[in-house]
């Protein structure tokens, strides 16, 4: 059962990373380099949480609850710094930084929802 959930999430991460790579190439070819970078940022976040999932699986040693707790905790802890960076960027009206931090936070929210759907069968 746990293998099926991990496999489902890994497939989802692979698809997302693949889509980001495709969008990145398309945007670069279309002369939209900055938006291509945003896709790269998203791709990096998916990659970070794919790694978090593999660490959660390793440390959980087959215990589905332990894996879930580890992943959910990290999905709260890791973006805390990004939320703080977003607030700081807003204070300084740093639009470029705001955009990057917002993309990271939106992506992690999407990952949390996907995790809930795939892992906990909330679909």
């Amino acid at each position: 059962m746990i293998d099926q959930k991990v496999s489902g999430l890994n497939v989802w991460f692979e698809e997302k990373i693949g889509l980001c790579g495709q969008r990145n190439r398309e945007l670069n070819e279309d002369g939209r380099a900055d938006e291509a970078v945003f896709e790269k940022v998203k791709s990096n976040i998916y990659d970070v949480f794919r790694t978090v999932l593999s660490v959660a699986v390793k440390t959980g040693s087959g215990d589905a609850d332990a894996v879930r707790t580890f992943f959910v905790q990290r999905a709260e802890q890791i973006p805390a710094g990004w939320a703080a960076a977003l607030e700081k960027a807003k204070e300084h009206n740093d639009i470029a930084r705001m955009q990057t931090e917002q993309i990271k936070l939106d992506t992690v929210q999407e990952i949390r929802e996907a995790f809930a759907r795939i892992w906990e069968g909330a679909e």
Partner: protein, 184 residues
């Protein structure tokens, strides 16, 4: 527009989304959500691009009721690319220093004790040595061919080649009256 400003503007314009934003603003002033709707990109992405355009001096903003409106800074786009190229370079002084060092290197290599050792094969280098020799001629004075030959012979035996090349390089001119140094 300074060189740095021009580089920032050109870098900023080399993006399709930003160009599309400018095209929209060329039609009329718009707010972020309207631009996002027109261009099919998110409002935060439009804000991101507008900030870059504003930093490059391409757009400006003003408040209108509840909206922050953006407009094209038309004066920037009325500047021709030729005007930008002809603007004095920030690098001009450094370039002038590098040119002076190069010039001195050529002079040191081809002159020994005031005599020309050989005529450089490279046109650029020959031009430099001709500019040194032509300094021996006064402005606004007509020289006979014999006078010209004598002056050049102090530098180099093949005065005919030097004389001809100084004419070819536009450093001296001649007519039936004789030769004279061209005013810069």
């Amino acid at each position: 527009m300074t060189e740095t400003e021009a580089i920032r503007l050109f870098k900023c314009l080399s993006d399709k989304s930003r160009l599309q934003i400018l095209k929209s603003l060329a039609i009329e002033d718009m707010y972020v959500e309207r631009l996002a709707e027109r261009l099919g990109i998110t409002a935060p992405t439009v804000s991101f691009h507008l900030k870059k355009l504003a930093d490059a001096g391409a757009v400006t903003s003003y408040k209108s009721q509840y909206y922050m409106m953006y407009s094209l800074k038309k004066d920037i786009f009325e500047t021709s690319i030729l005007d930008i190229i002809q603007e004095k370079s920030d690098e001009a002084d450094a370039q002038a220093r590098r040119d002076a060092v190069y010039r001195q290197k050529v002079i040191d290599a081809f002159f020994e004790y005031g005599k020309l050792k050989a005529i450089p094969a490279q046109r650029k280098k020959e031009r430099i040595i001709l500019e040194v020799i032509v300094q021996e001629f006064e402005y606004d004075r007509i020289y006979s061919e014999r006078e010209v030959n004598i002056i050049i012979a102090d530098f180099y035996d093949d005065f005919c080649t030097i004389r001809r090349d100084m004419i070819g390089e536009g450093l001296m001119e001649r007519d039936t009256r004789g030769y004279w140094r061209v005013n810069p």
